[in-house]
Amino acid sequence: MVGIKSYGAHIPRFRLDRNIMQMALLFLGFAPLRGEKAVANWDEDSITMAVAAAKDCLRGEDSGKVDGCYFATTSQTYSLRQNAGIIAAALDLNTNCRTADFTDSTKSGTAALLAAADAVSSGSLNNCLISAADCRVSKVGSNGDYTYGDGGAAFLLGKDDVVATIDGSYCTTHDFVDRRRLEGERLEHMWEERFIRDAGYMKFIPEAAAGLVKKYNLTAKDFSKVIYACAFTGAHAALGKTLGLAPEQVQEPMLTTVGDTGVAQTLMMLVAALEDAKPGDKIMVISFGQGCDAMYLTVTDKIAMIKDKKAIKRNLANKVALGSYEKYLAFRKLMPCEIGIRGEETIFTSFSIISRESREIYGMVGTKCKKCGTPSWPVQRICPNPDCGAVDQMEAYKFSDKLGDIFTYTSDFLAPSIDPPASYGFIDFKGGGRAGLDFTDCDPNTIKVGMPVELAFRIKAADEKRAAINYGWKAMPIVA
């Protein structure tokens, strides 16, 4: 039976306290929501957060068997160039892989999940990875500015060894206009909050839930957890009562800890639910967009096998206060900032290099000498071991999933950065190999020689003249 073989999630490390936003934005009006929101680092976007979630999901799995890679977002980096293709390259998936982007609606995450489930169910795909992430920007002081948070989730679907079976779905479509954005616009438009709440969430979520339980002859009491999208805390609580759920059946929506993560919201809640699930648990998921996708899953006894995957719990605990609304605006490029004339020197992005050397640049795949076993990154034809020097005896060697230690480092105030100092250094990898890498998600004051790191796929730089966001792997201190 088709189901989830593995899952992963990503919540960015920075949190912005909505009280800090309120202090900066009081002249425009009151905050619609309290608590904090997760804010992507300056080098994160929907693609990198999807990769982070997918890397977590694929840990311990054979990524060589993945034959589908679906990505959902409403904050796509490229509108022409497949974002899922970049994710597949970052994960170094096989080239005989079906990839697709699902976009334009916040229910696209569940749409991708259901499409993947159907593909696996029909036998046309065996192991389909789906990832969903959003990094939405909204007008300063708007409802979205306050309520949106950033994050992502990923699932590997297959037929064998599934931790939860996907047992049924019920979908609705309404051309309901809560939020909209035309091609070429960066910031979205939102209709009246009361309308979205009362004519949207309060109407469509119960409709989808009722349709699902009727279709499969179930009742609300059958579910251990019910996950449903809602951007309003009050309405979310009210919906639980409308659906006839006891408080413990309602999956916490993380609105005051992470925020409304768009396409990823219900899927991140599903990961959170699976982190605590027991065999036999039934979980209902209802997303919201232009209508709803409702589905239900049954947890199997295999859930015990991946109990070490706790990305939501770990990432909720691993937080650093951003402390400044202005910094958030700078990170999201909502405010022009001076980073020095040096920073104006544009790099020239050559897409022929990126295409030719994608496995090295995006996949962090180097070489390993078959004669002496020395791994190298970047790719080498001639072994750098002075006692070997073998020519063309290399095999591909993936570094992105390897751990390493900081060999040496600096924190550099001269290097152009929106968040100086720029920290970087050399990493010595477990198993061999040394690479010079930028660091991310680290505190310059706590970096030490010998500190253990893992790798994260992040934005290196934007080359706006050539419509290029350039990505690569960075070193990041390991979060216990």
């Binding site: 020239f348 600096t410 100092p421 930028d438 020689v449 350039n470």
Partner: protein, 397 residues
């Protein structure tokens, strides 16, 4: 069997501009300034020069590529000119070309001229100028020059168990020493003395390096005229003889393989060994009277003392504390103020260093004159500690 170039070629004329933020001067102004002094010092006429080597590292931000700018600026009459570039060793590469041109027997008299105009970019630090190719930004770190060398300081401190305070103090003494020398040199860019405390408390540029751990960013030019040793007495009584010029370039093992300790520069060590062999020097600590080494950053000077075998591995701090490298020490280093005070107009630096060795050996170094130096050494290191080009030139009477 190759026998090297020891004593086959002599330097008979040199020129060096005032270094600094020469907002007043075009690249061509700097080239002419160095050349006019050099030619006058040699006593030759322009028509005596048979071939020239021209060094500029970042011509794309100043005069453009190729050799034509040297010919057309100096009005050299259709002679062979070659443009050379090899990172921060560019000026020394120009000298090497001219010396080899004479040593080969192809020419009697050759010119080497290096120039760099860095201050037309509008920002501090070395310009980017696309110098590392299209791929570098795609798969490398956000590296700057101070950052690249700061990583060596981090590693040096870690390897030799220096806490940041002691490590920064060691480095601060290097910068304070060079500032003291530079204050005496009218051609230097930075001419103020600084205290060790000022150096240590300066704003951080790239941890652990602060502002005064970094050399200046300057414009400048320097030039040399060389001739065969057999004809040198025709031109001047006090020529300076080239004992060796060597270059060593990274093999990739430092950056790619995990044996390199990150706390020294392997090509500096290798170039030193080759140069000492060519010059017949057995004990560099005792035989080299003075040196201008590539102190782009204080840490570079520190490890270079060890790489060139002036200090034992891990022991440079003892020599610094003992004042060995001060103007009145046993082995003065950066007696002209170094890159620290001259700044580093890349194409000019190697020749600027040689200018000081030349003047010291001739006894013409004014207030900085050392007592009867016999052997001078210049050292350039270009690139980053993990991947670099190093030149070592040795000269004497």
């Amino acid at each position: 069997m190759a026998e090297g170039i020891k004593d086959k070629v002599a330097i008979i004329g040199m020129g060096c501009t005032k270094f600094g933020e020469r907002f007043d001067a075009s690249p061509q102004d700097l080239m002419v300034e160095a050349f006019v002094e050099c030619l006058a010092d040699s006593g030759l006429e322009k028509k005596d020069i048979q071939a020239a080597w021209w060094g500029v590292h970042m011509p794309d931000i100043s005069v453009g590529r190729g050799a034509t700018i040297l010919g057309t600026t100096l009005k050299l009459p259709f002679i062979p000119i070659t443009r050379v570039e090899n990172f921060c060793a560019t000026g020394s590469e120009a000298l090497r070309g001219a010396v080899y041109g004479v040593a080969s027997g192809a020419y009697d008299i050759c010119l080497a001229l290096g120039m760099e105009k860095l201050k037309d970019t509008g920002y501090g630090g070395l310009p980017l100028a696309g110098g590392m190719g299209y791929k570098m930004p795609l798969n490398s770190f956000n590296l700057t020059a101070p950052g690249g060398f700061a990583m060596m300081a981090t590693k040096y401190f870690s390897k030799y168990n220096l806490n940041p305070q002691d490590g920064k103090m060691m480095l601060a003494k290097i910068s304070a020493k060079s500032h003291r020398n530079g204050a005496l040199n009218p051609k230097a860019h930075l001419r103020k003395e600084v205290t060790v405390e000022q150096v240590m408390n300066a704003p951080v540029i790239a941890w652990p390096l602060g502002l005064f751990d970094c050399c200046g960013v300057s414009d400048g030019s320097a030039a040399a005229i060389v001739c065969g040793a057999d004809m040198v007495k025709k031109f001047r009584p006090d020529p300076v003889f080239v004992k060796s010029i060597q270059i060593s370039v990274s093999s990739g093992e430092e950056m790619l393989y995990t044996k390199w300790d990150g706390a020294h520069v392997e090509p500096s060590y290798r170039a030193g060994i080759m140069a000492y062999k060519e010059a017949g020097i057995k004990n560099p600590r005792e035989e080299v009277s003075m040196a201008e080494v590539h102190d782009c950053f204080s840490i570079t000077e520190a490890v270079t003392m060890e790489d060139l075998q002036f200090s034992a591995r891990g022991k440079v701090k003892d020599d610094i504390d003992a004042g060995r490298f001060n103007y009145d020490g046993a082995q003065p280093i950066q007696i002209d103020g170094g890159l620290k005070c001259f700044g580093h107009p890349i194409g000019a630096s190697g020749l600027r260093m040689m200018y000081e060795m030349y003047k010291q050996l001739q006894g013409k170094a004014d207030k900085r004159q050392l007592k009867d130096p016999k052997v001078g050494l210049t050292h350039n290191m270009g690139g980053f500690p993990s991947m670099c080009v190093v030149s070592v030139c040795i000269v004497g009477k």
